[in-house]
Every structure is written in C-alpha cells, then in structure tokens.
Amino acid sequence: MSDLLGYLLTGLGIGAGFALVGSGMVVIHRVTRVVNLAQGAFAVLAAMLTSALLATGLPHGLAEGAGVLVAAGAGVLTGIVAIGRPGTEPGAALIITLGLGVLAYAVEVTVWGDQPRSYAGLPGAVTLGGARIQAHYLLVIAVTLPVFAALMAFFRGTDPGKALTACAENPYAARVVGIDVRRMGLLAFGLGGALGGLAGVLLTPVQQVTFDSDVTLIVNGFAAAVLGGLTRPGVALAGGLLLGVAQTLIAGYGGGAHQLEIALLVMLAVMVAQAVRAGSVREVAR
C-alpha cells in the first residue's frame, strides 16, 4: 500500500514534467499549427544552463529562472526560423524544428560536453502515509499546478491571451481585429520555450539530463499533448500525469525499463483512435 502511494506521487512528479513539455507543444500548435519537435531541446538547454550556473555558485532560484528565460528566448528564436517567413507551411516548419533540435545537440555537446549532468534539487525525503518519497517530486507538482492555473487565467483573462486564442480559432478574423498573427505565433513559441525550460530545470535533480534527453521528453510530452488533440492544455496536463503514473507503476511493479515504449504505444493508440473517429465523421459528412 505504501509502495503504491510512493509510486503514485513519484509518477505525478515525473508526469508533471511531461505535462509541461506537452502543454508547451499545445500552446505552439494551437496558434501556429506547427508540431514543435524542438520542444524537448528547450528543456535540455535550460537544464544544462542551470547546472552550469549552479556550478559557478549562482544560488538556486536565480539559476533555474535564468534557465527558463533562456529557454523562452530559444523558443522565440526557433519560432523566427520556423515560421518567420510568411506562408511557411506547418509541415515545413515541423521539419525546421526537427533540424533545430538536432542543431541543439551540437551546441550542447560543444558547450557542456556529452556527459550526463544533474544538480541537487530540494533535499531530503518526506514520509507520507508510510511512503517515503524524495521531497523534490512534491516540489515539481507544487510548481506545475499553479503554472497551469496561471496559464488558463492568462488565456481566458488577458488581452494577449485572448488574442492568442483568437489566432488559434480563426487567424483570418484575428487579422481583421488588428492581431499580428505572426507575432502571436512567436509569443506562443516563447511561451512554449518557457514551459519546456521549466520542465527541464524541475526534472533534472531527479532524472539526470544528457544532450539527447529531449527524445524521452518529446515522446512523453507529445503523447500527453496528443490526448487533447494538441489543442487543449488542460487535457495535456491530465495526459502527462496519467503517463507519469502509469510508467512509475509499471517500472515499480513490473520492473524493466520500458517507459518510452509505453508512451509510444499510448500515443499511437490515441492517434489511431482519433484518425478512425475523424474518418467516420468525414464519411457521415459525405
């Protein structure tokens, strides 16, 4: 019983990270229709930078903040390259983001080397209902939930948030009310970068990061995002948490390291189900 609670909380912590990566993809996809495959690179970049900054003696908080800010900047840059040219197809932009993700490997290996990096997170462990779990997992959850709440409030309650939603709903009409759709796309990329960066700096103390950690993050993040059809951040949160919990439970009870395969299976099943449903809708419409 106490094992189960431990696995659950650990899973929620890991899942929160997936949800952050996934919601970043959702924010970008909603506004620009681009599936951003550089999303995991934002997390790795932020994590590597934070680790380097902490090594120079910068205190916690500042180092993580700098990591997230730089990831947001990397997001904007990715956006400029991917959608900066008017009329770039979302499919072409996707390939550009893939290329930028690979380019990020080169940069990260050159600057920080190819060895795994980590740093200390929130120290200690907490005993909850007989289960001992690392306190840092609770921190990850405690940061992620308010971030999602703020994200919702931003989209619903502020003018730039509403403008982003307007772009997502009808870019043609958005232009008519004076919204610069491309600029909003870059803003979405910046937000996506920040969310990815946050996932990176939060997860690194419990999962060391290497330059190619982005693959795990992107597969899990995308699997979480695809549950909500790549358009609903709230569903991405639920999806991410679910994935995290499922993976820790399977790893805990079944042993073995098949987490990535599970995420891939979930993603595939969801996409097949969605394609089948969309197909039947089309047939009915015909």
């Binding site: 931003f154 307007a166 709903e169 009808n170 009409a173 232009r175 009310v177 004076g178 919204i179 759709v181």
Partner: protein, 258 residues
C-alpha cells in the same frame, strides 16, 4: 484625388490568372459618408472589399486612409489604423463567449501591453474594465446584450454577423467595411440594421456597404457606386443611379435586380 478624403482608392487593379476581377477602379469617400457598392454577381465587389480591408493586395493602384497609404500593409496593420471589417461569412471566434469575441475587437486599440497583462498591473486592469464596458455597449447597440455570456458559435448566423459588427465597433474604427450585412436578416432585423448604420454615420464613421439588396442600399446610402465586370460604371446619389440607363442595362443583362 480630393483632399481630405476618408478613403481614396486610386487606379486599383487585381487579376486572378490573367482575368481582371477589379480593373482600374477609383473610389473616393468623404469623411462620414455612407457609400453603397452594388453590382451584379461577379462584378468585383468582394475583391474590391478585400483590397481595402487587406485580405488581398492590389496588383497596381493605391489605397489611402485619411491620406495615408495602406495598400502595402497587412490586414492587421490596417485594422490598427482604424479599418473595421464585417465579413458576410460568419467569422467569429468559437470557443470564446460573445462578450470575449467583442473584447478581442479592441485588441488594436490596447496600449498597456503584454508585460502589464501578465503581471496584472493596475494599468492593465483599468484598460480591461474600460474595454469590457465598451464591449457591452457595442453588444447593446447590435441587439446582442442578452447573449453576452453565451459561446459565440451558439448564435444563429444573422446574429453572428451582428457579433462581427459589434466586434468591429469595439475597435473604434474610422472606416467600416460591411460585406452584405443585410443578407439573411428578417425585416425587423433589417430595420434595426439600417437605423444603426444611420446612427454610426451621425457619429462620423465612414462606411462602405457592399450589398446585394439594392433597395436596402438605396435607402441608407448617401451615394452609390456601381461595379460591373471589375469597373465602375456609375456613381452618384441613389436616385441618379437608379435612373441611370447603364446601370439598368447591367442589371438586366445579368438578371433582374435583387
């Protein structure tokens, strides 16, 4: 072109695959004028509309708003300069309430900016409140006050167009472009629309009204421009245009007037 024109289109042409949709059209609207734009199907009304609104760019010719050239600007820049657009098709934002739709219309007029919005600074709150009040007033004018908190996609089609009008008004336009605002409206709604257009004109908003319903245009417009096959074939007061044999010919040639 006349000095002090609110809208001046000069020598505008636009071709699609070698066929001119609009050919060498010039059009000058005085400030506060309500101009009707009519013509048989395929006359180029919608293309001209899009050239002014920025959905299309002219191959040649210029478009000026209060003397400023806008023909090379994208639609969003034109909107921020004061061009409001109401499309014939329902182009609202589903997934947002009616009120939120109208509030987005003020996007081009907001000044507090992204940082203030995110940090929820007092300046942003003040502006947000102001826009909310303005949006409610615009909903009241277009007869949508009772729908404010409903999702936009729940509105019937005619009301979705009224919503677009409210959204455009919330942006406080100098020039309002209306594409067939009366189509699909019932008689009472049509009356309300014509009263609202008259009111807006009294407030000094310049309007270009593209309309299929010739009788409606003749009733509300100060002046009427007639397009046929991409060219201006007549222009003048409603009475003059109605009596113009060239106009009668164009309409009879393309079927009876609507």
């Amino acid at each position: 072109m006349a000095a002090g024109a609110a809208l001046a289109v000069s020598g505008a042409s636009r071709a699609f695959g070698g066929v001119y949709a609009v050919r060498d059209v010039s059009l000058t609207l005085a400030p506060g004028e309500l101009r009707g734009l009519i013509g048989p199907n395929g006359a180029g009304k919608s293309t001209l509309f899009a050239l002014i609104g920025g959905q299309l760019r002219a191959d040649t010719g210029t478009v000026r708003l209060d003397g400023t050239r806008i023909d090379r600007l994208p639609a969003d820049r034109r909107a921020r300069l004061g061009v409001g657009v109401v499309f014939q098709a329902a182009r609202v934002f589903p997934g947002m309430t009616v009120l939120e739709n109208v509030m987005v219309g003020a996007h081009g007029t907001t000044g507090a900016g992204f940082v203030a919005a995110v940090l929820r600074l007092p300046a942003h709150h003040r502006e947000e409140r102001l826009i909310r009040d303005r949006a409610r007033a615009c909903l009241a004018r277009t007869g949508l006050a009772g729908w404010a908190d409903r999702p936009a996609e729940a509105l019937p089609l005619g009301q979705q167009r009224a919503l677009q009008l409210a959204r455009a008004l919330c942006g406080q336009p100098r020039l309002l472009l209306l594409d067939e605002p009366a189509s699909g409206l019932r008689a009472a709604e049509r009356e309300r629309l014509s009263a609202l257009l008259t009111e807006l004109r009294a407030e000094g908003i310049t309007m270009l009204l593209v309309e299929h319903d010739v009788a409606f245009v003749m009733r509300v417009a100060d002046r009427v421009t007639v397009l046929d096959l991409g060219r201006v074939i007549a222009e003048g007061s409603p009475a003059d245009v109605r009596a113009d044999p060239v106009v009668i010919d164009a309409y009879l040639g393309a079927g009876s007037p609507a």
